[in-house]
Symmetry: C2
Subunit: 146 residues, 2 copies
């Protein structure tokens, strides 16, 4: 049996208002990619594509009934940076772009510094500085194997 | 203001049973990384880390009230492969590992071939073949810019 390679091609976030969601991520720093149109947006990232798709259309694509979303949806996306001050700056930038503050930047129990915000559709992002990890040249976290 | 770089460091999935969730992703093909323990698992991927954390603990970390999850949570993770037969193989492998079938592999309206499954905690994955995209040497999708 062929195993999965350890990679994720696309993270697709369901959105209620494509124009608003796209503008938010563009302001944040992402650039829309090739086949984007009024129904779908792809942001070419380093090692991953961030996609935006209609909330109900995404549910329909998977053949699942759509549903009202609770505030906590059981997952988060993390953007790690190299210092405490970069967490503060990234948080301030996200809020300036229209993100909703979920948790102000603060020291956390595992020895790092982090905050949470949500995008216009309620998708949860953490911005974190973890002094115990390294970055690759293109900004990816390197944790190594057990 | 410093913009975000187009990268995502970690995708963290909230789980109810760490041992079960970790075993599922290990069987799928991911390898646990450095600081993993009974409360958290990190899988070192190419360009992204997949994290598993307690469902309620993740909500608490963000300072949000936890909540029962609807079947559709408003987002999906996609694993793209290079052919129709690889979609079938990956789907069969996921099901053999204990994934729940959400949508059997089938031709889709945008010209590709895809299926959906959910992990033991209900997180939604798509496996897709898109004949219109290219892969980098390390298996990432390249869509280019608009």
């Amino acid at each position: 049996m062929t195993k999965f390679e350890p990679r994720i091609s696309i993270i697709t976030l369901g959105v209620k208002n494509m124009k608003k969601a796209r503008s938010f991520y563009e302001a944040l720093g992402w650039k829309a990619g090739g086949p984007s149109n009024e129904n779908v947006t792809f942001f070419q990232g380093r090692g991953i594509i961030l996609g935006l798709y209609g909330h109900d259309t995404l549910a329909e694509d998977a053949g699942i009934e759509t549903a009202p979303q609770p505030k906590f949806r059981g997952s988060s996306l993390a953007y790690n940076v190299a210092s405490v001050s970069e967490v503060d700056e990234a948080f301030a930038h996200a809020i300036a772009c229209g993100a909703k503050s979920v948790k102000q930047p603060e020291k956390v129990f595992w020895g790092g510094y982090s905050c949470y915000f949500s995008d216009p559709d309620g998708h949860l992002w953490e911005v974190a500085h973890n002094p115990f990890v390294k970055f690759s040249d293109d900004g990816h976290l390197i944790m190594g194997q057990e």
